[in-house]
C-alpha cells in the first residue's frame, strides 16, 4: 500500500492501465486533436468580461476584465481599473494551453455528466518528465467538440478546476462563462501588521476555513480573429 502514496507510481499505474486498450487511446488522441483543431480556428481574440472572486476569506467586488489571446499560447488578463485577486499562476492556463498540442498520452476515463451534458473524460499525461503540467483531465462534449470541464494539476501551483459553459461563441470553442476553482489555503497574517484586535468569532473563522476558492469570469463580448499586436502581451 505504501507504494501507492507516491504519485509517480500512481501515474505509471494509470499509464499501464490506460494504455491497455490501445485502440481506445488512438480514438482519444484523435478526439483531442479534433477539439484542438476547433480551437485553432481562433488565431486571436479579445474579450470583455466581469470577474467575480469567490474565496471565503476574500471579499471583493465584481470587477471588469479584458482578456487577450493569441495563438499558440499568448494570454493576458487585464483588469479594467480596480484591484483583482487571482490564484497564483492559475488563470494563465487558457483554452490554448489546456489542450497540450503534443507530447502527451491521452487515456479514456469513461463518461461523466457535467451539468446536463454527457462528456467523455480524457486524461492527458505529458510524456516529458519535467513538464509543468503533471496531469490534465478534460471533460469533452463529443458531439460539439467542446471542453466542458478541465482539471489541471501543475507542479508548482496545485490543482485547478475549470468549468466552462458556452453560448453564442460555441462554434469557436470559446466559453461564455468560466468558473475557475482551486484549493484556497488558509492564511493568517501576523498580528503586528494589521494592528487589529482579532475579534472575529469562532463561527466566522470556521466558515472561512478550508473552502474552495472560485473565480468566475463571464464574457460579454468577444472580438475574434481581428489581429492583436504582440506588444499587448508585454
Amino acid at each position: 500500500m505504501h507504494l501507492f502514496h507516491t504519485p509517480k507510481i500512481l501515474i505509471t499505474l494509470c499509464l499501464i492501465v490506460g494504455s491497455l486498450p490501445f485502440a481506445k487511446a488512438q480514438q482519444m488522441n484523435s478526439l483531442v486533436a479534433k477539439v484542438k483543431a476547433k480551437l485553432d480556428l481562433v488565431s486571436d481574440y479579445t474579450a470583455e468580461g466581469k470577474m467575480k472572486t469567490d474565496v471565503a476569506f476574500i471579499k471583493a467586488p465584481v470587477g471588469r476584465v479584458k482578456v487577450f489571446y493569441k495563438r499558440p499560447n499568448k494570454f493576458k488578463l487585464q483588469r479594467d481599473g480596480g484591484i483583482s485577486i487571482l490564484p497564483k499562476g492559475g488563470i494563465s492556463i487558457n483554452m490554448g494551453s489546456m489542450v497540450m498540442s503534443d507530447g502527451f498520452v491521452a487515456i479514456d476515463a469513461g463518461e461523466v455528466m457535467v451539468g446536463n451534458t454527457n462528456t467523455r473524460v480524457v486524461k492527458l499525461l505529458p510524456t516529458a518528465d519535467n513538464s509543468e503540467v503533471v496531469l490534465s483531465t478534460l471533460y469533452i462534449d463529443e458531439a460539439n467538440l467542446l471542453i466542458m470541464k478541465s482539471v489541471t494539476t501543475t507542479r508548482a501551483s496545485g490543482t485547478y478546476e475549470m468549468e466552462l459553459s458556452y453560448g453564442q461563441f460555441a462554434k469557436y470553442g470559446l466559453p461564455d462563462k468560466v468558473l475557475f476553482s482551486f484549493n484556497a489555503k488558509d492564511y493568517k497574517l501576523p498580528k503586528g501588521i494589521t494592528l487589529e484586535f482579532d475579534d472575529t468569532d469562532q463561527a466566522t473563522k470556521n466558515r472561512l476555513k478550508g473552502k474552495k476558492g472560485r473565480v468566475e469570469i463571464t464574457y460579454t463580448a468577444y472580438s475574434i480573429n481581428k489581429g492583436i499586436a504582440d506588444a499587448v502581451f508585454n
Binding site: 476574500i58 471583493a60 465584481v62 484591484i83 497574517l189 472575529t200 472561512l208
Partner: protein, 291 residues
C-alpha cells in the same frame, strides 16, 4: 459662553505648543508618505508575503486610499498623546500658571467657563483630525492617485471598490472624531486633579496605553473586561471598511458588515464623552480654587 469659547480658542491657538501637534502630524504623515513613495513596493510585498504565496494581486494597491488607511491605523494610536497635551492641560495648566483664579473671578458662570474649555479642547481635537484628513487622505490621493482599497484584516481580505470608498472615509473620520473626543474628555477630566499639566498628560496616556494593551492582548481573563474598555471601541472605525456579501459571496456596494458594532461602539464612546464632560462640569462647579 460664546465669548468665553472665543477666548479659550484664542488662548489655545496663541500657544506654540498647539502648533507642535500640527507640525508633529505633518511630519509623521510626511514621513509615511515619503517612505511609501520611495519604498512602497517593498512594504506591500512585505505585508502581503504570506498572501502572495497563494494569490497574485493585480492593480494599484499603493494608492491614496490605502496610504490613508495605513496612516489612520498608525496615527490614531499616537494622536491621543497630542490631544492629551492640550486637553489635559486645560484646567491643570491654568492652575499651574495661576491664571485659573483670575479667570474664575470674572463674571462668568463656572459651568459656562468649564463648558467653553471643554468645547475648545474638542474643537482643537477636531481640527487636528481634519488636518489628518487633509494630509492623510487628500494629499495622499493627490500624490498616489486613487484605486480600489485593499485591506488585510486578521482573518480575511477586503477589496473595497473605488467608488464605494469615500463615504466610508467620511464615516471613519467621524467615528475617529468620537474616539479622539473620548481621549480629549478623559484628559480634560483628569486635568482637574492636578496643578501641573504633566501629571494629567501622563495619566491620560498611561490609561490609554494600558487599556490598549489589554484590548489587544488575547488573554482570556482580559477578554472578559475588553468590552468595557473604551479603547476596544476606539478602533471600530475600521468597521466602515468591511461590507456585506450576498449568498453568492458578491460584495454589496454601500453596505457595512457590522453596522450594529459601529453603533454600539459609538454609543459607548458618546457615553464616555458625556460622562467625562458631565463629571468635569460637576466637579468644577464645586471645586475650591487653591492654586
Amino acid at each position: 459662553m460664546w465669548t468665553h469659547l472665543q477666548v479659550e480658542l484664542y488662548k489655545i491657538f496663541r500657544r506654540p505648543r498647539t502648533y507642535l501637534s500640527f507640525v508633529a502630524i505633518t511630519a509623521l504623515i510626511g514621513v509615511i508618505q515619503l517612505g511609501l513613495l520611495v519604498d512602497g513596493k517593498e512594504y506591500t510585498e512585505f505585508v502581503m508575503a504570506d498572501f502572495a504565496n497563494t494569490f497574485s494581486v493585480d492593480g494599484k494597491i499603493l494608492n491614496g486610499y490605502f496610504i490613508c488607511y495605513i496612516i489612520l491605523q498608525l496615527l490614531l494610536v499616537h494622536v491621543p498623546l497630542l490631544i492629551a497635551l492640550i486637553a489635559a492641560d486645560m484646567i491643570s495648566g491654568e492652575a499651574n500658571m495661576g491664571t485659573l483664579r483670575i479667570l474664575l473671578t470674572k463674571p462668568q458662570s463656572r459651568t459656562a467657563i468649564v463648558t467653553a474649555k471643554f468645547l475648545a479642547a474638542a474643537i482643537y481635537t477636531l481640527l487636528l483630525l481634519i488636518w489628518i484628513a487633509v494630509l492623510g487622505l487628500f494629499v495622499s490621493m493627490a500624490i498616489f492617485g486613487t484605486d480600489d482599497l485593499f485591506i488585510m484584516k486578521s482573518s480575511y481580505v477586503v477589496i473595497v471598490k473605488e467608488s464605494d470608498i469615500f463615504w466610508r472615509y467620511a464615516g471613519a473620520f467621524c467615528f475617529a472624531a468620537l474616539a479622539m473626543l473620548t481621549v480629549s474628555s478623559l484628559g480634560f477630566f483628569l486635568s482637574f486633579f492636578a496643578e501641573n499639566s504633566i501629571g494629567p498628560i501622563v495619566a491620560t496616556m498611561s490609561i490609554i496605553i494600558v487599556f490598549t494593551i489589554l484590548s489587544t492582548m488575547n488573554i482570556p481573563i482580559f477578554n472578559i473586561i475588553k468590552p468595557y474598555l473604551f479603547t476596544s471601541h476606539m478602533i471600530t472605525w475600521k468597521e466602515f471598511f468591511d461590507f456585506k456579501v450576498n449568498d453568492a459571496n458578491e460584495a454589496m456596494v454601500g453596505s457595512i458588515q457590522y453596522p450594529a458594532k459601529i453603533i454600539k461602539s459609538a454609543l459607548v464612546l458618546i457615553i464616555h464623552i458625556l460622562g467625562f464632560g458631565g463629571a468635569s462640569i460637576l466637579l468644577f462647579r464645586k471645586k475650591d480654587i487653591l492654586s
